[in-house]
């Protein structure tokens, strides 16, 4: 017989299952800059930053298949709504709040299905940096809203540390500045992720001295995607080229 106790246990086990799998995930940082919105992360082999719709961008850490499933569901919803109604009716609030989050929540609470292993960040570009929106979606369907900047990481502690760093930004940066801030927040998120437990403390090595971003780039690559506020191109979205990211490492 399935009891309330079983339900709570099931939820706790599922959360534990997901948290465990998220541990190795690289953080993603979102920052508004004067001319657009930036998402910044480090990828290994698979791309992590994606265009969802004209004004929407997405990234996530977690299981690749789950990241992909949410991406495709978001694209389907956005395009269906954009065509049937209007592109102006496709908003981050409708997308995350009504389309993606409830589905993730259902999946997480259903003991007969595998929960989605991901933490996702959605960003919507506005006419001005203070009109940009960020939604951070957790694996249990909960989401939070942010302006100017947002972050997702392997743990809530890492996310909080990153947000603290991002909240300290007082002026709207340009793209170069946003990349520098993003890299700094990423380092914090990555360091927090790697903080040793008491048992592991003694085993800490000289690797702690290494720049976490530099370390991540041993087997990874910087990835940054932007939505541009004013562009004559059809698409506001583009991934930054390698030569546009070279300065990031010089500001460690």
């Amino acid at each position: 017989m399935y009891s309330p106790y079983d339900f709570n246990q099931s939820i706790a086990h599922r959360a534990e299952y997901v948290e465990e799998r998220l541990k190795g995930g690289a953080p993603v940082v979102g920052i508004s800059y004067d001319r657009g919105v930036l998402l910044f992360t480090v990828k290994r082999t698979q791309r992590k930053i994606f265009e969802i719709y004209d004004q929407l961008i997405y990234s996530a850490l977690g299981n690749q298949a789950d990241v992909e499933a949410v991406r495709l569901a978001a694209i389907d919803f956005a395009h269906q709504e954009g065509f049937v109604r209007s592109p102006d009716d496709v908003s981050i609030q409708r997308l995350v709040g009504f389309a993606v989050s409830p589905a993730i929540k259902r999946s997480f609470g259903d003991p007969m299905s595998t929960p989605h292993v991901l933490r996702a960040i959605f960003a919507e570009i506005g006419k001005r940096p203070d009109k940009d929106s960020y939604f951070v979606l957790n694996y249990d369907g909960e989401f939070s809203t942010h302006t100017r900047s947002a972050a997702v990481a392997a743990s809530t502690a890492a996310e909080e540390a990153m947000r603290e760093s991002l909240d300290a930004i007082t002026e709207t940066p340009d793209l170069a500045g946003a990349l520098t801030h993003a890299a700094a927040a990423w380092r914090i998120g990555s360091n927090t992720r790697a903080l040793p437990t008491d048992d592991e403390d003694e085993a800490a090595t000289e690797d702690e001295e290494l720049d976490p971003l530099q370390e991540a780039l041993r087997d990874g690559h910087l990835e940054a995607g932007i939505l541009e506020r004013d562009t004559p191109r059809e698409s506001k979205f583009r991934l930054l080229r390698a030569d546009e990211l070279t300065n990031v490492m010089n500001h460690g």
């Binding site: 949410v70 495709l72 694209i75 269906q80």
Partner: protein, 275 residues
């Protein structure tokens, strides 16, 4: 949880099936179906220039004299539409979403061949309506082929058959009246593909004026300026209205082409064009 599947980038599967229309009674009045009239596409040395009059007619009446018949679909593709305005605009809107949906979901742009096939499917899907005497439209599709490094023009018949033109394309009620004139220009002056933008624009404006003289449904350029857009390697150019007026003034004054001011064009974002 069940997320909807992507169906490999086919946007049409996300939409409800179109309503079936029963055959209308014989002799049904179809004047409610507003039509666009004459559109022209010619190659020039940097891509393809599209010029269209602004008139939309319903039966014998002029429904609208500022209709936009050149619709950008993406950075390197436009369609110029003639025939049923309602259907053509809706299909233009559909294609814009379909191309973007494919690119975003499949993480690669749709090929030119893929876009042309998508256009064929739309025309083919419209066949039942056309057979009933409403909703017929014929597009001219212009694209800049980045692989080939040249502008290309494709025109269609009502069944969706696609034909590629080496120099020019035209559609709409006024197009048949000027079809021979294109050949005359190519044979006696030079191929459109060797003209620069202002030469090509001048020829197109004259052709459009001839079409307006010979076809009551085609608006010329005397009252409302035509619209003109060019597809180039760098994107879609919207030809400046003021400069078009200068070219028209020179034409009317019999000015020498080489003395004309260069055409000013402003690069546009296809999204800024309400479809």
């Amino acid at each position: 949880m069940n997320f909807p599947q992507s169906f490999a980038g086919d946007f049409s599967r996300l939409l409800p099936a179109p309503q079936k229309i029963e055959a209308p009674a014989a002799g049904v009045d179809t004047t409610f179906d507003t039509h666009g009239t004459t559109v022209i596409a010619v190659k020039y040395n940097e891509g393809v220039l599209n010029v269209a009059d602004r008139r939309a007619t319903a039966g014998m009446g002029v429904m609208y004299d500022r209709a936009e018949k050149i619709l950008p679909l993406d950075d390197h593709t436009v369609i110029a539409i003639s025939g049923s305005f309602a259907k053509a605009i809706e299909i233009g809107r559909y294609l814009r979403h379909a191309f973007k949906y494919y690119e975003r979901s499949q993480l690669q742009p749709m090929s030119l061949e893929g876009k042309l096939a998508e256009m064929t499917r739309r025309i083919e899907g419209n066949l039942p309506m056309m057979m009933q005497g409403i909703g017929a439209f014929i597009p001219v599709l212009s694209a800049y082929d980045l692989d080939a490094g040249e502008g290309r023009i494709f025109f269609y018949d009502g069944m969706g058959a696609r034909f590629e033109s080496s120099e020019f394309g035209a559609a709409g009620s006024g197009s048949s009246a000027i079809r021979g004139s294109f050949d005359y220009i190519v044979r006696t002056r030079k191929p459109f593909s060797q003209m620069d933008l202002q030469e090509a624009l001048r020829e197109c404006l004259i052709l459009l004026d001839i079409a307006a003289d010979l076809d009551a449904a085609t608006g010329g350029y005397s009252k409302i300026l035509p619209s003109a857009k060019a597809v180039t390697r760098d994107g879609i150019l919207n030809l400046d209205e003021g400069q078009m007026k200068d070219v028209l003034r020179q034409i009317e004054e019999g000015g020498v082409l080489s003395s004309m001011p260069p055409v000013q064009a402003r690069k546009i974002d296809a999204d800024s064009e309400a479809v």
